[in-house]
């Protein structure tokens, strides 16, 4: 039976993502390395500060893994949470695993921890790039109901690969933030179909911000991650310039579009209105019809 990635807790996702009984947790809940800030604000802590980290095997290969718990503080990155992620990346430099896999579900910086959270996010970014510079692939799996936003969205796009389900969302600003800053005419955050058209896995996949699109199924995330092991992408000046060229081209081609529907239409997708109701598994074929246009 299909095990929903979105409905599973971070721990359950890790358990079922890796090879059976191979996960060893680092700084587990019994060690009680908790937030030094939350209790002062009268907010309950979590024993693992909302992120599970450790080592294990994926398809027999050694990997390091981190999974954010979206239900705790919206998956927000606080001081300890961030330090656990940084520590994991630093361990990767020594252990040289086949990949570092991050199951990202987060609203970004944990606002309760303010600057400590902001600093943590930037340290995670730096640590991630150090790992990539060593040729160790970093893979993001995004499929939680809370999405991957804010500083964590930025971190996700620093990785080698992004795997999303169509329930997953990836962006910087959250929908409510856009609406309150720019008004409901600009972006109606209660129009959930619009929110998912704009930031959801399908759109990200069609516009190449996500490499693999899967269904809401832990087994499919596992298969996708397995397929990306050992596939490090160069982190070079040339690759940065290529990315800039891609973004400039995207801006010139689609900069005046108001809605993802307009982008898909302009890219030559036959029936853009039907795209949201299509299944994830139908997307590769759709993308193949318009390979260059959508990128």
């Amino acid at each position: 039976m299909n095990r929903s990635f979105a409905e599973s807790t971070a721990r359950e996702r890790v358990t079922h993502l890796l090879d059976a009984d191979t996960f060893h947790e680092i700084l587990g809940p019994a060690e009680r390395v908790v937030s030094p800030h939350l209790a002062l604000l009268g907010v309950p802590s979590a024993f693992d500060d909302g992120v599970v980290i450790g080592s294990g095997l994926l398809d027999g290969q050694a990997i390091l893994v981190a999974a954010q718990e979206g239900e705790f503080m919206g998956g927000g990155v606080g001081e300890v949470h961030g330090a656990k992620l940084v520590g994991l990346f630093k361990r990767a430099l020594a252990a040289k695993p086949a990949a570092v896999i991050v199951l990202a579900e987060s609203g970004g910086v944990r606002l309760h921890e303010a600057n400590a959270g902001l600093i943590a996010v930037s340290e995670v970014m730096r640590a991630l790039l150090d790992v990539r510079a060593q040729g160790i692939p970093v893979i993001m799996l995004i499929g939680g109901a809370n999405g991957c936003f804010g500083g964590m969205g930025l971190i996700a796009r620093c990785a080698d690969h992004v795997v999303m389900s169509d329930i997953g969302r990836l962006a910087m600003s959250g929908p409510e933030v856009i609406e309150s800053s720019n008004g409901v005419e600009e972006f109606d955050s209660r129009d959930r179909a619009l929110v998912w058209r704009t930031t959801g896995g399908k759109h990200r996949y069609l516009t190449d911000d996500c490499d693999v699109l899967v269904e809401d199924d832990v087994a499919q995330f596992r298969a996708a991650a397995m397929g990306l092991l050992g596939q490090s992408l160069p982190l070079s000046l040339a690759s940065m310039e290529a990315e800039h060229a891609l973004l400039a081209s995207r801006l010139s081609r689609y900069g005046d579009c108001r809605d993802a529907l307009d982008i898909w239409q302009r890219a030559g997708v036959a029936d853009p209105l039907r795209v949201p109701d299509m299944e994830a598994r139908q997307m590769p074929a759709l993308k193949a019809l318009n390979p260059k246009e959508l990128a």
């Binding site: 309950p44 979590a46 024993f47 705790f72």
Partner: protein
């Protein structure tokens, strides 16, 4: 935030085991961690954001222990306003995750 501590005598000691964690600290939810500890009692430590419900916690954990009679176990809880129904459910889920010998009737208060 309120901290509560309870201690009960027990019978079934699972001995040494890897700590067990169930649940998540989300709104209306809680996490329950079970760890082995020396001694013959079951201790329960609760940290909760919903203050003033001490007597209800006491009744809930009392009934939990009546069902499972655990010994040599420390139960630690981080709670964010879960109802007694959810608390009892998580406690029973945690007990069910212990190594064999501590399962008993996962029933309601008598």
């Amino acid at each position: 935030m309120e901290k509560l501590h309870f201690e009960f005598p027990g019978q079934y000691a699972p001995g040494h085991f890897t700590p067990v964690l169930v649940g998540v600290v989300g709104s209306g939810n809680l996490e329950v961690m079970l760890e082995p500890h020396g001694g013959s009692t079951c201790t329960i430590d609760v940290t909760t954001s919903a203050g003033g419900f001490g007597p209800i916690w006491e009744a809930v954990v009392h009934d939990f222990q009546a069902r499972h009679r655990l010994a040599g176990i420390a139960v630690s809880i981080n709670d964010m306003g879960a109802t007694p129904a959810v608390v009892s459910l998580r406690l029973d889920q945690a007990a069910a995750a212990l190594p064999l010998g501590s399962q008993s009737n996962s029933g309601a208060p008598t």
